[in-house]
């Protein structure tokens, strides 16, 4: 007998129902980035600890339920799962490890009425969120990641033609699929021109576009400039009700302003955004960000988001109306930068390119674009 392999789709089902994970990567890698979920219990025992016949480590593992073994690419997890299987445990392993998990996307419908359907596409391992807005057979895709087949097949399922693709800002934590998706579908690609200075890529300047109409219905999109995270960041307000906030506002806080090396300056711009542009929006606007940091941010309905009023209530810095104190709080709470962000920014501006293998390597690790404020 040997242990069975599962794929990311099967693992996602288990993660939702509750599962015990044994992660056999290095402790540093586990501490840095791991599979998370409200119902997930996980422990970390590196695979090389299983090479010695040390019976003690098996005592930490449950004997009465399935154990899914996780590693970077699948090889070590298979070895450990086979060992567990020999010892009588119910073991399986994620066939291609974290590499496969980092490419898994889960679409969730946020809302649907006669005129509009809004789908959030969650790339679980990275905490990256992108959106498809569908109306009258047309679709707008916001902040697509680089595995564009996900959006192509979703549009096909929804019987919609992708008409517009938009990046809310120049991403620093993941490689955008925006330009490629637009090219493939013949859609128009929008991004703020201040994000793309010197870029050879073709795009339409988003800042000149006050509104985009999608479909025959009254689904209108207002680009609300929200500089701060990067100078050309925008948010997209759909039907005055749904704010696709990019990396400006998250469920747990605000975007980090330091990735351009101008933390102090951009913190001022973020202040203006929060206390002018965003301040005028009502509490019941649903904020749908481009990232999340913790599984607890996934609502019972399955999507990541929160009413603006709730975010204001929970987030002290959003209520810090004193400009200097605000800037100080924001600039001092930034933490570690996303891995490889300078290289990723160059790729997203079209100034560099990466093979799929290289892209996978650059994107390894968790998302670090959100700030965590208490």
């Amino acid at each position: 007998m040997s242990a069975g392999a599962i794929n990311a789709i099967q693992l996602n089902e288990k993660v939702e129902q509750g599962v015990f994970l044994l992660d056999v990567r290095n402790p540093e890698d586990f501490a840095d980035w791991k599979i998370e979920g409200k119902e997930v219990r996980s422990i970390n025992i590196p695979y090389f600890d299983f090479l010695d016949d040390n019976e003690n480590i098996y005592g930490q593992l449950p004997a009465d339920e399935e154990i899914v073994v996780i590693c970077a690419k699948g090889g070590s997890a298979k070895m450990v799962a086979d060992l567990l299987d020999e010892k009588g445990f119910q073991a399986s392993y994620l066939e291609q490890g974290m590499q496969e998990w980092s490419q898994f996307y889960r679409p969730v419908t946020v809302m649907e009425d006669d005129n509009l359907k809004l789908i959030q596409v969650n790339r679980l391992a990275k905490g990256c969120l992108s959106y498809m807005l569908i109306s009258g057979g047309e679709a707008l895709v916001v902040d697509p990641n680089r595995h564009i087949e996900e959006y192509l097949s979703l549009a096909e399922q929804e019987d919609a033609a992708i008409k517009y693709v938009l990046d809310t800002h120049l991403h620093a934590d993941h490689i955008s699929g925006g330009h490629e998706l637009a090219e493939k579908t013949g859609a128009v690609y929008y991004i703020s021109s201040s994000e793309m200075q010197g870029s050879e890529l073709s795009y339409e300047p988003l800042e000149k576009q006050g509104m985009l109409e999608v479909g025959r219905a009254e689904a209108k999109i207002l680009a609300v400039p929200t500089p701060g995270h990067t100078p050309g960041s925008v948010s997209v307000l759909v039907n005055d009700r749904y704010l696709l906030s990019g990396d400006t506002i998250f469920v747990g806080g605000l975007g980090r302003p330091d990735l351009g090396g101008k933390a102090a300056e951009w913190a001022q711009a973020l202040y203006d955004t929060v206390f002018t542009t965003i301040a005028s929006l009502p509490d019941d606007v649903l904020v749908l960000p481009a990232h999340y940091a913790e599984a607890s941010e996934i609502r019972r309905e399955g999507y990541v988001g929160a009413p603006l009023g709730e975010i204001r209530g929970n987030n002290e810095v959003m209520r810090t109306a004193n400009r200097d104190r605000f800037a100080e709080k924001v600039a001092h709470a930034v933490g570690a930068t996303p891995p490889n962000y300078e290289e990723i920014v160059e790729i997203n501006r079209g100034a560099a390119s990466a093979s799929p293998e290289k892209a996978t390597e650059l994107e390894i690790g968790p998302n670090r674009c959100a700030l965590h404020h208490g």
Partner: protein
């Protein structure tokens, strides 16, 4: 120069085999002897550090040349 007692060629092998192979060779070594491992699996370099730590071995040096990682480990 590091005096090498045992040489392990793990080139072309992917995780977990470089460490499995190194461990087998290590079991036959005396305490204080030095192993040189050559691996083409980048991910295994960090793993050698963790493996050495949890077994009281010491990684003396790691170096890379043309995609080949050389790791020198002294048996604890």
């Amino acid at each position: 120069m590091i005096n090498v007692d045992v040489f392990v060629d793990a080139k072309g092998l992917s995780c977990p085999m470089p460490i499995v192979k190194a461990k087998k060779a290590m079991d036959a070594m005396e305490s204080g002897q030095v192993m040189q491992v050559e691996s083409t699996d980048k991910g295994s370099v960090n793993d050698f550090q963790g493996w050495a730590r949890s077994n009281s071995h010491e990684v003396l040096k790691t170096e890379e040349e043309g995609g080949v990682y050389r790791i020198f480990v002294r048996k604890g």
